[in-house]
Symmetry: C2
Subunit: 586 residues, 2 copies
């Protein structure tokens, strides 16, 4: 098993355990979302608290605690998971159905609102939580609930059941996870059936159009992701799972095409996805405004899920590149330093310091505005989604095949695997991305030759020694240097909203100009970029009005809004640098 041992991500994992997860449990308890299950179990009438998908947030936190137990061992959170599992299980109906907002005599009927009801979506998160809980604790307390619920779904929506899909994809990937955990083929078949059913207009037409829930086109016919970003990405992730498990090469090829077109044309430099506020949706190709870029945190989580599945299916480093970009610029950006506040949206341009997010009487932010990290949102998927991703981050470090180990992410870590039945363990030491020096020391080696492959980041010149095959000895060390010079990136000429601007990047970090770093008296709108130097993150800016120049630091985008409210921009207006460069680069 692989393990992150230090650095930024170990710190975030620690913050997750000690602050983010407890914070989420506290809010969900305070707001009555957990109590929905207790009240459902009594059979008495109650007023449901929270949105249609509130149940799913509890499931995601159970999943996060379970993953965290695997990662860091027993702890206080285990008691929380036990308690939540017991309360969830008690609310399950005799026939396996489980959702606290639907189906009781005073509630709307089950499956009466596929567009917004999120019933199968919540079921999917329960299944994911149950698989994680079973793996972590060996207990079937939640797995039994999941199996009963999944069996109910297979009856209701099986080949002779309702020809419907959930407005929010999620059940598809969850059913494959349950299939993998239980070996029950019917869950995989049901996932494939849900996939095949989508794209035929069975969902009611809503103002956002059929593409909103990917019901406009069958998944294997599409060439790019459309509609609500998280829905599109969860669907795509589930489709990769089905393609891999059923050996469906045509489906896998379609998903690779969708991924590439989406990354090339509909993804922000930060890895953020989704440019519309209104429908939380992908825009058309190259509609990537920096102002009000939505880039929902959960779309970052979902993008990593999609990329990771394609990485496992193909081994191609572009998927690991995109995961890295999204990790450093979305996932590390969203949580506040205290682990008790979060960005829901991750804009690339904040014109004025501070947020304008309305807060209700419960202290809950009722929209996803992007100027300041907020403790909790009415739509609060970001915190639990971050929690389960951070808790499982060790899985992204490396993969193993018959020939050896492929290292995908450069974090201080211990990598442990077996090659031909023999142990092969490595220790990776680095302060990346502070510098680009990475040292890999073999601590146990197989007797036969084995290969160590290092991901070559798309933005770095080819690494010598990126793939070495030999008979390794304990103590063997590989040293590589990834190119950490700052680089100036010009946007595609079709990305109208950032024409005449460049961005500066360094390693995996997108850099940002934050207003607190400007000379006194300047506003963000005054500053134009004059020059950038590959050896430093300091740049020269000129005042648009006075022409005065100043040298100021850029900061990693993920560090913005941590020194009090500020204005910020990633794409910086520049006459000189935009005109001098021949074309776009990543």
């Amino acid at each position: 098993m692989n393990r992150i041992t230090g650095g930024l991500w170990a710190e975030l994992q620690h913050l997750n355990r000690t602050a983010m997860i407890p914070h989420a449990v506290q809010w969900m308890t305070r707001l009555g979302w957990v109590a929905n299950f207790d009240r459902a179990a009594t059979g008495e009438r109650y007023e449901h608290r929270g949105r249609e998908f509130a149940d799913s947030e509890i499931y995601k936190i159970i999943e996060a605690i379970s993953l965290e137990h695997v990662r860091s061992g027993p702890g206080e959170l285990d008691v929380v998971a036990d308690d939540l599992v017991r309360r969830v299980a008690a609310a399950q109906e005799p026939d396996g159905y489980l959702h606290t907002l639907f189906g009781r005599p005073w509630q709307r009927p089950r499956y009466s609102d596929f567009t917004w009801g999120h019933e199968l979506y919540c079921a999917g998160h329960l299944l994911q939580a149950a698989v994680a809980h079973h793996r972590a604790y060996g207990s079937t307390a939640l797995l039994d609930v999941a199996v009963r619920l999944a069996d109910h779904i297979c009856v209701m929506f099986g080949p002779r059941g309702l020809n419907r899909v959930c407005g929010h994809a999620e059940i598809e990937l969850a059913l494959v996870a349950l299939y993998r955990e239980t070996g029950e083929r019917r869950y995989l078949d049901q996932a494939a059936l849900f996939l095949d059913r989508r794209g035929h207009g069975t969902l009611p037409l809503i103002e956002f159009g059929r593409a909103f829930a990917q019901d406009d086109l069958p998944v294997r016919k599409a060439t790019v992701l459309r509609g609500h970003a998280v829905r599109a990405l969860y669907l795509a992730a589930g489709a990769v799972d089905v393609a891999v498990e059923t050996g469906d090469a045509e489906l896998l090829a379609a998903l690779k095409t969708q991924w590439q077109n989406t990354v090339d044309r509909r993804t922000y430099l930060t890895g953020g996805m989704g440019s519309h506020h209104m429908d939380e949706a992908f825009g058309e190709d190259f509609v990537l405004p920096a102002d009000r870029s939505y880039c929902e945190t959960c779309a970052g989580v979902a993008s990593i899920m999609f990329s990771q599945r394609l990485l496992l299916a193909t081994g191609e480093s572009r998927y690991a590149d995109q995961i890295e970009r999204t990790l450093y610029n979305i996932l590390a950006t969203a949580p506040g330093d205290d682990g008790r506040s979060f960005f829901y949206a991750n804009t690339l341009h904040q014109r004025h310091p501070g947020g304008d997010v309305p807060v209700n009487d419960d202290g809950v932010s009722i929209r996803g505005g992007a100027g300041e990290r907020q403790p909790w949102y009415e739509v609060s998927c970001c915190a639990p989604n971050l929690a389960r991703t951070l808790a499982s981050l060790d899985d992204y470090l490396a993969t193993t095949d018959d020939e050896g180990i492929r290292i995908h992410q450069y974090m201080p870590s211990l990598l442990e695997t077996t090659i031909g039945g023999e142990s092969f363990t490595l220790e990776l030491a680095t302060d990346y991305p502070a510098t680009g020096t990475i040292s890999i020391t073999v601590t146990r080696a197989p007797t036969a030759p084995a290969t160590i492959t290092l991901r070559q980041p798309e933005w770095s010149p080819p690494l010598p020694d990126a793939e070495l095959t030999r008979i390794w000895q304990p103590g063997d060390t590989i040293m590589v240097d990834v190119d950490m010079r700052t680089r100036v990136t010009r946007p595609d000429h079709r990305a109208d909203a950032v024409r005449g601007c460049v961005a500066v990047q360094r390693g995996p970090d997108v850099l940002a100009l934050e207003s607190v770093d400007l000379p006194a008296g300047w506003t963000l709108a005054d500053a134009e970029l004059v020059s950038a130097d590959p050896t430093t993150t300091d740049v020269v800016v000129r005042h648009h009005g006075t022409g005065k120049e100043a040298t100021i630091p850029l900061i990693p985008y993920r560090r913005w809004a941590r020194r009090g409210p500020s204005a910020m921009r990633v794409w910086i207006p520049t006459w000189q640098l935009w005109s001098m460069r021949p074309g776009p680069s990543r």
Copy 2:
């Protein structure tokens, strides 16, 4: 009385009478919106059709027919107005209340949803319709209904009544109109009271924040328009009315400031207002993306209402300039050539030909997408709002004061007024904006000296003879030439989304590049502007990829999407023209 006698606007007025108004009546009848009144009158239970504001569309059409009767005399539409008025009147409750969606035993209670209910908004449109109907026909059939409704409102919301405001401003300006028609001071007082009450957070907090309904700041404290564009503009128009009638100089000054800041920082080149799709709202200063610019047609109507009131209050030509800009580029753009289709939104950049507007089973478009004009929308304010504006367009031609006449809009027209009790009539002949030549001939003149003042468009060099005072004789003619050379406009450097682009304008027309005019094989995204010539609307463009150049015509923005679906842009990428010019110009 002034009258448009020919040209573009006479054609649109004719189209309004013969197609747009009948079309709207047909749709509102077919969809059951008119029948809501009949069914409300029976007292029996019914299912309300249409949205919360459906009543108001009928009122706006009554207003349009009444204005059209004044403009062009008796006709078939008079019967329609009679019928609608009778049916509306029959639905009024004994205490004066009138709304077909609230207050009956099976409906939601009256005044239970100030945020979205639109009860006072609908009442306002009834009052406006009643004033127009009374003036046109001399009948009190609808005025009596309006007075009873207004009296009910004055009781319910008077100084000792409910301290609430409607989520959608409109009642304010309508009460002033009713005051002007009836002389009853209590309506003006009630309008002033509604104004004073807004901005104190009495509306529930919603996800779009308090600014959405202008409940964030008292109207006299604000410095710029915020929130939902139509709401903000109707409120501002009503506030000018109150300021003028009560002699409130402080309030008027605040509104002038708001107008100027809004026009300078939050208005598109076309005069379009509102950049957000999500909440149909103004963006922050200089957040004016061309992509998905919202520029709702009704916000254009409302902007003209606000500007016209300030023009009447101050006589300053900047308000007439803005009216002209909005007339030529929003109001003339929205309707299709057949008068039976409309743009709801008026984007400045359409990337792909055609629309993607979902249509429901009734044939109604359920969102305001902007690629193609649609016959009818679920939110269908644009057609009736255009209808009443076109029917009253004669009012915008000129104004009179003690010294003489001020001509604001250059349309072929007859201008009739009295100066010192004597008749003063002019005939304006022009083919503006085809050319800039305007000829004004005196047909009857007072015996004393009188002044003829011509608006000097902001974009034209000063006109000689723009203000002439003399003793006029019939047959005297003034000839002026407005500068109709094309001009290249560079955006403000803070308008990030169009950096590196210019727009081309000619007279009052914003010009557009439409994809159907590109050389074969080019897409809109390929074309960059190389040069523009003041003497022609043809420009030289270069293909981004191949470097090939071609000369193509630009068209007036209002003519776009009339030769089949097309891609279109107003702001055109250009290396040369953007870099050569020193600063922004209108």
